[in-house]
């Protein structure tokens, strides 16, 4: 290799700025691409984590549920052990409810055996592990004493009384909910059906026939929670294969992760296809940045390239010369971008668990991007050399064509097409029971296309305006005139910075707006759906215990088919209900909610009422129903059902109720009431959009600062010339502030306007659960707008300071150099 090529990597050190810009450009480019790959992979893991959180940890793997004859219990246990070998396994056996006699008042009880059950119960009395463990509810009902032997002495002695298991359940009990949580209003309203735990499988097997017709068997497989889609898939496959023998025998095999795995895969596909357009746009911008850096490099190395050309080097060799000088910073930047994408995963991605192969794919994507960057460097230099040295210089036809093409019309057309997809998007149509709604990636692209169209349009209008700006004669305001001339003289970089600036601001605003709207919608819809943070249905209407006063309310519900009327206590309703407080005066009269028919209403258990007041929506009712104040209900017992609505978490609510022996059922938590995955998918997608917007904003800011630094000498010469002609330093500063401020204001105004328009049109349609009130709305964007304005102002101030400093610190030699 000849010396100029061999020395090229070291020559890069002669221009630290070019080195830095190349490195940062490649860093941002590879960050975006690697982050896109990692983000979409992580979204699958987040979907799995979301489902795993809503399911029971011990029943995530395929598991068994069956009924067997009680006599088969021990043989079934042996068969399980021999079939499943060393596989960690947690079997449980339950008898059906049966009348049981513990010597006192007869009661109904279930007997159960689950290895380790006594380790996960709260002992109230006793604690010996060689006898029966009886729940408090039964102990109280039957006035049970420790040491008593039930069923005429057939049962082992009672050695412990434990506190009933209640919602929210300890994870160890989660999978056994239907068996272990006392049912306070089973067929025997005077009793409960909690489990009496036997000390061993043998003792369970030895239960007398009077209480053992059939036994319910559950076999769960505890183990680590899968972190990724592939891990979950592997668990499902392995578990299904392991239990195939039992399936063939007609035993029910539950596989709760099967649908989540499908959903997670669908989520990955949705997120990937939704972020793909933006990633491609960012890739193109990044590659254009690499081409610009190369063009500036070629301009700076023009003399050397010309010398090498004259000495017989061709375009390809000169491209290689560029590659050898700029290649290393590009490769280093690519590597740093990859590392940054991995390290910042917790910041921008919904999960830090990456499926196997994700990191490899990210490396591959970065390699492709770095390779593309290197090709761009080589081809840009080779083409410039060909055009400048080999072919008569007639200007680039391709460039003229590219500039003249109405790209904004193309993107506007795509935006219109995308709008039709938004309008018809079937967010509410699920593909299968429990499955995800169809999420149309093209529809999600609509707000981004609006921003892109606005950015391109702004860039074209700016170019036209700058072209025509020579007509502006504002010499009475020299600062303004100089600002216009400077902008016009740098029309290319100015429109480039404007384009990226609008795109950055618009992307951040769209991303934050839509992600925020989904987050708020999920919270509000869940809140409206449940009515409160947590709710339980009371067996009997009771007064609230002291712990729940001030944070809960009792609500009655009368229902005929889909028509619902709530009975509320105006004094306490706002304490427990979800959402903003409702005027107490409104609650003190019958209310018609949303689309409910006007006129007199008759509901079972309620007096006829004629609501005159109206509210558009109401907790639990959504947008249809009625509300009656409790003081207008003469017979509270006639109301269909009563609930406690609480602003407290479910655990606190049930603890308080249990402490006062208040019987309840049907506990619901707001956070788990509505499947949030569709909301989260859109939120994750636009979260990434925001991250890319931040990267673009950094690009725009650096490009602006670099553009100022690159034309340092022009600024110095013109500034020195102007000040010697009498321009005051303050006027010079205001001139630069005007120049850069105009650019920033244009970027901020167009970016925010386009993003606001796009978001406001799209958000109401991007509602994964339109049947649940309230609809999706753009959240308050004022803080973001303020931050954008402040950030832009800071960049402008720094850039203006750099420009003015160039004038103040310019050396004489710099000013007089030819």
């Amino acid at each position: 290799m000849q010396i100029p090529w061999r020395a090229a990597p070291r020559a890069a050190l002669s221009s630290p700025l070019t080195l830095l810009v190349s490195l940062v450009t490649a860093l941002l480019l590879s960050f975006v691409v690697a982050a896109a790959v990692l983000h979409s992979g992580a979204s699958g893991s987040a979907a799995i984590a979301y489902h795993a959180d809503r399911l029971c940890a011990e029943s995530l793997r395929p598991n068994l549920e069956s009924k067997i004859r009680h006599a088969q219990v021990l043989s079934a246990l042996d068969d399980l052990k021999s079939t499943l070998g060393d596989q960690p396994m947690l079997p449980a056996f339950y008898t059906a409810e049966a009348r049981t006699d513990f010597g006192g008042r007869p009661t109904y009880a279930k007997f159960g055996y689950r290895p380790g059950a006594t380790d996960h119960l709260k002992v109230l009395e006793g604690g010996g592990k060689d006898g029966l463990w009886v729940p408090k509810s039964i102990a109280v009902t039957t006035d049970l004493q420790l040491g008593k032997r039930g069923m005429g002495g057939v049962l082992p002695p009672v050695t412990a009384v434990y506190e009933d298991v209640r919602d929210p359940l300890d994870p160890w009990w989660c999978s056994e909910r239907q068996y272990v949580v006392p049912n306070p209003i089973s067929a025997r309203l005077d009793s409960v059906t909690a489990v009496v735990w036997m000390p061993t499988a043998e003792s369970f097997a030895a239960l007398p026939p009077a209480v053992t017709a059939q036994a319910s068997v559950t076999v769960r497989f505890p183990g680590p929670v899968p972190q990724t889609v592939d891990e979950a898939d592997a668990l499902v496959s392995a578990g299904t294969a392991r239990l195939e023998k039992y399936r063939a025998q007609g035993v029910r095999v539950n596989s709760p992760l099967t649908l989540p795995v499908d959903n997670a895969r669908e989520t990955v596909g949705n997120v990937r296809s939704a972020i793909l357009p933006l990633a491609l746009i960012s890739l193109l911008i990044g590659l254009a940045g690499v081409a610009t850096v190369t063009a500036q490099w070629a301009q700076r190395r023009h003399a050397e390239l010309w010398l090498l050309w004259v000495r017989g080097s061709g375009p390809a060799a000169l491209g290689g010369r560029a590659l050898l000088e700029l290649g290393l910073p590009l490769v280093a930047g690519g590597a740093l971008g990859l590392v940054a994408a991995r390290l910042l995963l917790p910041v921008y991605a919904p999960s830090t668990a990456l499926p196997p192969g994700s990191a490899g794919n990210a490396v591959l994507a970065v390699l492709v991007v770095v390779a593309l960057s290197l090709v761009i460097v080589w081809s840009t230099t080779a083409l410039r050399a060909h055009r400048a040295f080999q072919k008569a210089a007639t200007g680039s036809r391709a460039r003229r064509v590219l500039t003249a093409l109405p790209w904004e019309l193309v993107t506007a057309g795509l935006a219109v097409w995308s709008w039709f997809r938004v309008r018809d998007s079937g967010f509410s149509a699920t593909t299968q029971i429990g499955g995800l709604p169809r999420i149309d990636a093209a529809a999600l692209a609509f707000p981004l296309l609006v921003v892109l169209t606005a950015a391109l349009l702004a860039a074209r209008l700016a170019r036209w305006a700058l072209k025509a700006s020579h007509r502006a004669a504002l010499w009475r305001r020299p600062a303004a005139q100089l600002a216009i001339r400077r902008l016009a003289a740098a029309a290319g970089p100015v429109t480039g910075v404007l384009l990226v600036g609008v795109l950055a601001i618009g992307t951040i605003a769209v991303g934050s707006g839509i992600a925020g709207s989904q987050q708020t919608a999920l919270a509000d819809k869940s809140g409206i759906y449940t009515g409160a943070e947590s709710t339980v249905r009371l067996v009997d209407k009771v007064e609230l215990p002291p712990e729940l006063r001030g944070n809960s309310t009792v609500v009655g519900m009368a229902q005929v088919e889909e028509n619902i009327a709530l009975v509320v206590d105006p004094d306490t309703f706002n304490d427990g209900a979800y959402g903003e407080d409702i005027d107490r005066a409104l609650l003190a009269q019958p209310l018609r909610i949303g689309d409910a028919p006007r006129g007199e209403v008759s509901m079972p258990g309620l007096p006829r009422f004629d609501p005159r007041a109206h509210l558009p929506s109401f907790p639990k009712l959504g947008t249809a129903g009625w509300v009656v104040p409790i003081d207008q209900v003469p017979d509270e017992d006639g109301v269909g059902s009563w609930y406690v609505w609480s602003a407290k978490p479910l655990g606190e609510l049930t603890t308080a109720l249990a402490a006062h022996d208040i019987r309840y059922r049907n506990s619901i938590e707001r956070t788990k009431a509505v499947s949030g995955l569709p909301f989260l998918t859109i939120q994750w997608t636009f979260g990434f959009v925001t991250a890319v917007g931040v990267v673009l904003a950094v690009v725009a800011a650096i490009a602006l600062l670099l553009a100022i630094e690159v034309r340092r000498r022009q600024n110095a010469v013109s500034g020195a010339f102007s000040t010697r002609m009498g321009l005051r330093p303050a006027a010079l500063l205001s001139s630069h502030l005007l120049e850069l401020g105009a650019l920033a204001v244009a970027a901020v105004v167009v970016g925010l306007a386009a993003s606001t328009a796009g978001s406001r049109i799209a958000v109401p349609r991007l509602d994964p659960a339109p049947r649940l009130a309230p609809g999706t709305e753009v959240p308050n964007m004022a803080p973001l707008f303020t931050a954008t304005v402040v950030g832009s102002a800071l960049v402008v101030l720094v850039a203006a300071w750099i420009a003015v400093r160039a004038v103040r610190t310019a050396r004489i030699g710099e000013l007089i150099r030819g």
């Binding site: 020395a7 004259v310 000495r311 017989g312 061709g314």
Partner: protein, 221 residues
Amino acid sequence: MAEHVLRLHGVGVEYRTPAGVVTAVSEVSLDVPAHGITVLAGPSGSGKSTLLRVLSLVERPTRGGVELRGTGTARLSSGARRALRRTEIALVFQNPADNLVAHLTVGDNLRAAAQAAGRTTTPDELLDQLGLPGTAAWKVNALSGGQQQRLAFGCALARGASVVLADEPTSQLDSRSADLVLETLADLARRAVPVVVASHDPRLIALADTRYDLRNGALAA
């Protein structure tokens, strides 16, 4: 050895500009002898530099042809013309800095020039001959303008080119530095290296063995 190293036959050069077609050189025919200094003299804008680019095979004429050592170049591909430039032609520019690779040392500049022509050189020996002894390890910007221009001719020597072409080699130098360049040119002529110089410097024109005067892109009568 051919009697003429370069010959032009009816060469014309035109440029398309937004204002229309501009004729830079019209119907120039001349011969460059295989020895001595040939000077293309004329005022600024007379077409000297354009003609030099045509002679150095950097630019294709709009009309006419260029012969290098008796071989026509009109039908040669760009690659073939580059190959000829690599081995047969050395071009020295007006601005001394443009003739050298700024980030290389003086010695490496000579080596690089030789390598481009597929040759090797001994920088110290050549630098002694150029009157720049002990500068091989220097950065080129440590040399004065005149020294840089001498080094540029040294690069031409290192390349072993059939002909050295120089465009206004003294125009950006002070008189003392220009003297150094004139000495170098005379030295090249003594070494039987044909030199073509475009210049309006009277002292350089006085060195000419062959002289062509250009006026408005054409040879003066």
